[in-house]
């Protein structure tokens, strides 16, 4: 698989001088085409999808997945996975919820503590992966289960329930809420601030990836670890930084979900880790590392959000939701793959 992937891409650049081909050869082009196809389909099939209220719904849905997908894409380009990314979104929100409602801590302080804990767990993930040389898939699967269990057990222990409610009554709630949970109404459509976060995160990630030394190192450690080490790339620092970035993004998403609804369930985020990976892959990331883009991952999340809400808009039996999602995502991956192959210079 690795060889094929390298060949697919390796064949690509000879043709890059031609401008159209140059565009087609970008990792995010497949996702762009797929997103357009999904948009057109639901716009024609339903008459609410392409309205301001409709767009508000699917953009909101895509935004939190988008933030995570971009961070996970960086990590995947760096050659690692983080299965604890999903549960971490719930974990960070629960920390804030418990510290404020159970211990009466200032909400800003609680948010900062939550961020520090998240970053520490991210750093620990990275450190264990690098020190032991074990696959990150296994290490973070462990973290995932540890956190998922702790989320439920600790929440139940302290509150007697499996969720935290009444966040809105916490002092200073109104001072922090707008940062993560506010919205504006345009033409009947509700647009949340999370969409802005999503765009900002994507822009910063793209800048880092393509225009900084750190970005160079991310591609290098994912593409050829030993070579990177030989030329003096700080491999350990880069990888740990990537795990911390994913954890930091999970904190942001945790805050967004907490302050949008003012409640948090103990099982929030469980099962979403694979969706982030799917979004990143749809966006052109190689599972083997060393190749991909932040914009692509953001587009992958956009596709996911549009499909997710499009199904509801189309009033299909929602029991089919996952099946349709899976099929749509597979299709998008095939399309993405096909476009990439076309771009590799007239490959059949």
């Amino acid at each position: 698989m690795t060889t094929t992937d390298i060949m697919t891409i390796a064949l690509r650049p000879r043709v890059e001088r031609r401008p159209i081909r140059r565009v087609l050869a970008r990792p995010e082009t497949g996702a762009f085409v797929a997103a357009l196809a999904v948009l057109v389909f639901f716009s024609i099939y339903t008459n609410t999808f392409l309205t301001l209220p409709g767009a508000g719904v699917w953009l909101e849905s895509a935004s939190t997945f988008g933030i995570m997908a971009v961070a996970v894409a960086l990590l995947m380009i760096g050659g690692e996975f983080d299965l604890s990314a999903g549960v971490m979104t719930g974990f960070t929100a629960l920390i804030v919820g418990i510290l404020t409602t159970q211990f009466g801590l200032n909400i800003w302080v609680a948010a900062v503590i939550s961020l520090i804990v998240a970053l520490a767990i991210g750093a620990l993930n990275g450190y264990v992966v690098m020190r032991t040389g074990l696959p990150s898939f296994i290490v973070t699967l462990g973290t995932f289960f540890v956190l998922a269990g702790a989320d439920l057990a600790v929440t139940k222990l302290l509150t007697g329930q499996v969720s935290i409610q009444g966040m809105a009554k916490v002092p200073n709630y109104d001072s922090i809420q707008p940062l993560f949970g506010s919205s504006i109404t345009i033409g009947g459509g509700v647009f949340y601030v999370s969409v802005v976060w999503w765009i900002v995160v994507t822009a910063i990630a793209t800048w880092v990836l393509l225009r900084t030394r750190a970005g160079n190192w991310i591609f290098a450690v994912g593409g050829a670890l030993n070579s990177s080490r030989q030329v003096g790339v700080p491999v350990m620092k880069t990888k740990i930084g990537l795990f911390m970035t994913t954890a930091g993004a999970a904190w942001l998403v945790g805050m967004i979900s907490l302050f949008r609804t003012s409640t948090v369930q103990a099982n929030t985020g469980v099962g979403q880790e694979f969706i982030y990976i799917i979004c990143a892959v749809v966006g052109g990331c190689l599972l083997t590392g060393g190749y991909g883009s932040a914009v692509g991952a953001a587009l992958g999340a956009l596709i996911y959000g549009m499909v997710f809400q499009g199904i509801t808009f189309a009033q299909w039996d929602t029991n089919w939701l996952r099946t349709v999602l899976g099929a749509m995502l597979l299709l998008a991956v095939f399309l993405n793959h096909w476009v990439r192959r076309r771009a590799s210079g007239g490959a059949q």
Partner: protein, 284 residues
């Protein structure tokens, strides 16, 4: 391909009776040679002759158990490959330390990227890095139309040359090349040999490790022959012929007996036997 006679021959690196043992096992013993500026020192030997132990000592990956290294006449010990690199001794290993999916220019500067601006606006100086990559490669005689292509799309010889050009640009005075022609075809090997000669002409001391005397002889100024961890000779080019080199490499007597053995099996008229005989005679 003949080297331009240097007016004064400056010795950069001197290897003095060096040996390396791992516990009771002697991997290397009593090796001496010199690396001069603007000259190519070839290290020849079969598999297991001790070539890789030797270059690891030069590159700073191993410290010698006995003997010493003199850099510009001063005794040195390198604690790490980085320390050797900082003193201007660069090693290009067989895997070349490149990332196949990354563009040529990103590979060229990987780990030593140029930046502009400061603070959060510190960013890669993409334009300058592309320009330098292009000119440095041109100086080595490689004309890449597009330094944006992944280095994995270049031929083996070209990739080897990018790695050499990179070492030269980052201030190498001594360039150690670990079997650069081993995995290459005849034509590609020729290309690499030409770049070795170019690096030499730019005043670098080159250490060229190979098991192929036909690759070593045209570019080499000095030949160190290793066999089972020991030196079987350290010759200047004027003191040895290609035939002698080949014969020493194969072990003259061994080649003789091989010829006789094949003669029995294939008959004296076999082209292979004739070729071997000719080589034997040339050697004598």
């Amino acid at each position: 391909m003949t080297s331009t006679e240097p007016k004064t021959r400056i010795t950069i690196l001197e290897v003095n009776n060096i040996g390396k043992s791992y516990g009771a096992v002697n991997a290397l013993a009593g090796i001496s040679t010199v690396v001069n500026a603007g000259q190519v020192t070839c290290v020849l030997g079969d598999n297991g002759a001790g070539k890789s132990t030797f270059i690891k000592i030069l590159a700073g990956a191993h410290t010698p158990s006995e003997g010493q290294l003199l850099l510009d006449g001063e005794p040195v010990t390198f604690s790490s490959p980085r320390a050797a690199l900082d003193r201007g001794i660069a090693t290009v290993y067989q895997d070349l330390a490149v990332v196949p999916l990354m563009p040529v220019w990103r590979n060229f500067f990987l780990g030593s990227e140029l930046t502009r601006g400061s603070g959060p606006f510190r960013r890669l100086d993409v334009k300058e890095m592309k320009r330098i990559t292009l000119t440095e490669l041109l100086n080595m005689g490689i004309d890449l139309r597009d330094v944006d292509q992944p280095i994995g799309t270049l031929s083996g010889g070209e990739r080897q040359c990018v790695a050499i050009a990179r070492a030269v640009y980052f201030g190498a005075r001594v360039l150690i090349l670990d079997e650069p022609t081993a995995a290459l075809g005849v034509k590609q090997s020729g290309v690499v040999l030409r770049y070795i000669a170019r690096a030499r002409d730019r005043g670098l001391g080159v250490v060229f490790i190979t098991h192929n005397p036909h690759h070593a002889f045209p570019v080499g100024d000095r030949f160190l022959l290793l066999n089972r961890g020991e030196s079987i000779g350290d010759f200047e080019k004027s003191k040895i012929t290609l035939g002698e080199l080949t014969s020493l490499m194969a072990g003259g007597a061994e080649l003789d007996s091989l010829t006789h053995e094949l003669e029995r099996e294939l008959g004296a008229d076999s082209p292979l036997v004739k070729e071997l005989e000719a080589e034997n005679q040339q050697a004598e």
